[in-house]
């Protein structure tokens, strides 16, 4: 996992936890690539990523001073409330969590962050929160099992990670707020490419009504699980 920082004062000042930016650059693929905002401080925003394909590989080979077109902040972020908030992340699903922790702490809540991975190698290095719980599928560090199983019951659960992890979270906490992943054409609400199937029928746009949803509002069986966000 790598962190990329960009000077983007207006976005840094206004971004909310769970929102994303849509990145494009000269010589890059045709479509922009969406990334959650990982941190925002002063004039700079950060995103966290690893190389999964052509776009992420190109981003990771950039040098200081290179220019990226950064459209955002986009989408609807988390709505933070309650006195004890759990952040549940899997793999690159850590991305929106530092801002979520910041906002929850600012709102006076106690924050427990549960981060899951397949093995200890895949755990991210740092996590912010009053309490940090690690969970690995193979038991090589922390809790032996999924992040969802490792989490305590709290007032509010915020989750981000592979869609199948979010589906599991939805079973346990229908009111959890989950940030989902879809392919995106525009990121701005015009193409209808980022369809999220809804439990009540029909589709929402992940880039506009999402990417954060009430867990029980999504028809998980229809949401593709094989996207690239999280390995």
């Amino acid at each position: 996992m790598f962190v990329l920082g960009m000077r983007a004062p207006e976005i840094a000042a206004s971004v909310r936890a769970g929102q994303f930016v849509n990145l494009g650059w000269a010589g890059g693929p045709l479509l922009r690539r969406p990334f959650s905002v990982y941190r925002a401080e002063g004039d700079v925003i950060e995103v966290v990523l690893k190389a999964v394909g052509v776009g992420t590989a190109q981003l990771l080979s950039m040098e200081p001073g290179d220019i990226v077109s950064c459209l955002g902040p986009l989408g609807r972020g988390f709505e933070i409330s309650g006195s004890h908030v759990a952040l549940i992340s899997g793999g690159l699903g850590v991305a929106p969590m530092p801002l979520a922790a910041r906002d929850a702490i600012a709102a006076g809540a106690r924050v427990t962050w549960i981060h899951g991975a397949r093995t200890a190698d895949e755990l991210c290095a740092e996590a912010d929160g009053d309490e940090v719980v690690w969970a690995t599928d193979d038991g090589s560090r922390g809790f032996h099992g999924t992040a969802v199983a490792a989490a305590p019951d709290v007032d509010l659960v915020l989750a981000c990670g592979p869609n199948r992890m979010l589906a599991a979270a939805a079973e346990r906490w229908p009111d959890a707020q989950v940030a989902v992943e879809t392919y995106m054409g525009c990121g701005t609400g015009v193409c209808l490419g980022c369809a999220v199937p809804l439990a009540r029928g029909g589709y929402d746009r992940a880039c506009k009504e999402g990417p954060v949803y009430r867990a029980a509002d999504i028809k998980w069986s229809m949401l593709p699980a094989n996207l690239h966000y999280v390995a």
Partner: protein, 304 residues
């Protein structure tokens, strides 16, 4: 810069030749950073008479210099369009055409009747790239009789401008172009997306849930320029060029090839200011060559 960029296309007066293509601009209320001054007109997302859910995800897949989409014409239906969007359009300073769709000629006609005369709707763009359910799912768009029948059905219900958007998946686009001209179209739009497929090698199945999707973006531009040129040679009514336009030079290729105006689609996804940049770039080009107006641009290629 004083270049007259205005132009009349098939009964619609445009302040500039660059329009927003259907399905790539939503209902015109979503695009951020929109520079309205440059929008010649907008064609709204394709609509059916009744609401449609659209196809399950994944709906899009990227390909070299292009993208496939299978949105399935998700939309709220005619009543919601009239209620939620047309009133806004009525206050805008550029015309809005509605991209209309149906499963039979009769359904196209009914939809037209429902929308005709609604303030905010300046005209219709008929999408004939729909399967003709009555004819076992063959496309209206590659059957000259079916294409003409749909055009007539719409023409009979409205005095507003009627444009017909051609599909590229045909043996001879000139035949379809002449058929719909004969049926009363005021202009042609060329072209809609090409049917394509992309395979997910992990699942051994298509990437898109709908299996196939429409290819758009720069990849198709040389094909679109050719087809728009063929259409323009076949008819007397104006042709609007569409397909892979992201820079002024791209739009100028269509104009020089005989088109009267253009629509920008996929480029807006990448660059929300694409329409304005294309418009301004055409203006600069005309200015640099000493043309006083868009109408002065050499429009028709030397014929063979």
């Amino acid at each position: 810069m004083i270049v007259d960029m205005s132009i009349a296309v098939g009964g619609v007066r445009l302040r500039g030749p660059v329009m927003a293509a259907s399905g790539t601009f939503g209902y015109g209320t979503e695009v951020p950073l929109l520079e309205r001054r440059a929008v010649g007109a907008m064609v709204s997302k394709g609509i059916f008479l009744r609401p449609r859910e659209g196809t399950p995800p994944p709906r899009i897949a990227e390909t070299p210099s292009g993208m496939l989409n299978a949105i399935g014409l998700q939309g709220p239906g005619a009543d919601a369009l009239v209620r939620d969007y047309a009133p806004k359009w009525a206050t805008w300073d550029f015309p809005v055409l509605v991209n209309i769709n149906g499963e039979s000629a009769a359904e196209y006609g009914e939809l037209t009747a429902r929308l005709d005369g609604v303030p905010g709707i300046a005209g219709f763009e008929i999408n004939i790239s729909c399967p003709n359910v009555e004819q076992g799912g063959l496309y209206f768009g590659n059957d000259p009789r079916a294409a003409a029948a749909v055009t007539e059905a719409v023409r009979r219900r409205t005095k507003l401008p009627v444009w017909v958007k051609l599909t590229p998946m045909v043996g001879d686009i000139g035949v379809i172009a002449r058929a719909v001209e004969g049926a009363g179209a005021d202009a042609l739009c060329a072209i809609n997306t090409f049917v394509g497929m992309s395979i997910d090698l992990n699942a051994y199945k298509p990437r898109l849930s709908f299996r196939t999707g429409g290819l758009s973006g720069p990849a198709i531009r040389p094909l679109a320029v050719h087809l728009a040129h063929q259409a323009a040679r076949a008819v007397r009514i104006p042709v609007v060029g569409i397909g892979g336009i992201s820079r002024a030079e791209d739009a100028l290729e269509f104009l020089v090839a005989g088109c009267s105006a253009v629509q920008v689609g996929t480029a807006t996804f990448v660059n929300p200011c694409a329409i304005a940049e294309v418009h301004d770039g055409i203006e600069s080009f005309l200015h640099a060559r000493g043309f006083k107006s868009l109408a002065d641009l050499p429009r028709h290629l030397p014929r063979d």
